[in-house]
Symmetry: C2
Subunit: 119 residues, 2 copies
């Protein structure tokens, strides 16, 4: 997985366990795509200082994932729900699905879609 | 939700963030159903001491949930996957499902069942 995407995912799951200061800097770097220098200028800290804080956040977030594995679990569940969504859509696309099943299949499509949007 | 069930769920999600000592005592109380006195005897700590550790663990685990809401998210997703499983089973039970759909529906049943077992 792309490093920034992984950082964003870890932040999405465990970010609330960081301090406000850490969150603000990590967000600017990972989500808002600012450079170390830009982040440092705004806050009057050195580029190296910003770098150290981001490394520290990476370490904390990865530590939570190593202990809890919740990102991994969510990604696996998400993949499986996507498969369900795909299967339901395939059946609906095929001819000959009986009317009583169609309504249920649309519900399966909607529910799986809802889960994917929340995740 | 039943208090012990909630404690067990919170422990299942965030237990790895407790110390080994806290985990061992919390497990004996919540999962193994030992009394405060029994837990204290084994470890040569007072009943009150055990009680304080359990309260401390409750507070930590609830604090993680207040920040991360992962138990809540998982429970909601689980409920929705259970609904998908039920719908797929209903269609399969009904007469007239065409053969090409049956295979896909069985896959939906299996995948949703797999997700529920993992969660």
């Amino acid at each position: 997985m792309d490093k920034i995407l992984r950082q964003a995912l870890l932040y999405d799951f465990y970010g609330e366990l960081l301090t406000e200061h850490q969150k603000s800097i990590y967000e600017d770097f990972v989500l808002n795509d600012y450079s170390l220098s830009e982040i440092g200028e705004d806050r009057k800290i050195s580029r190296q200082g910003v770098y150290d804080i981001i490394k520290r956040c990476d370490k904390l977030l990865n530590g939570y994932e190593e202990k809890l594995h919740l990102v991994q679990k969510f990604l696996m569940a998400k993949e499986q729900v996507a498969k369900i969504h795909e299967l339901a859509s395939e059946i609906l696309k095929a001819e000959g699905a009986p009317d009583e099943a169609t309504e249920y299949l649309r519900q399966i499509e909607n529910i799986s879609n809802g889960i994917l949007e929340e995740m």
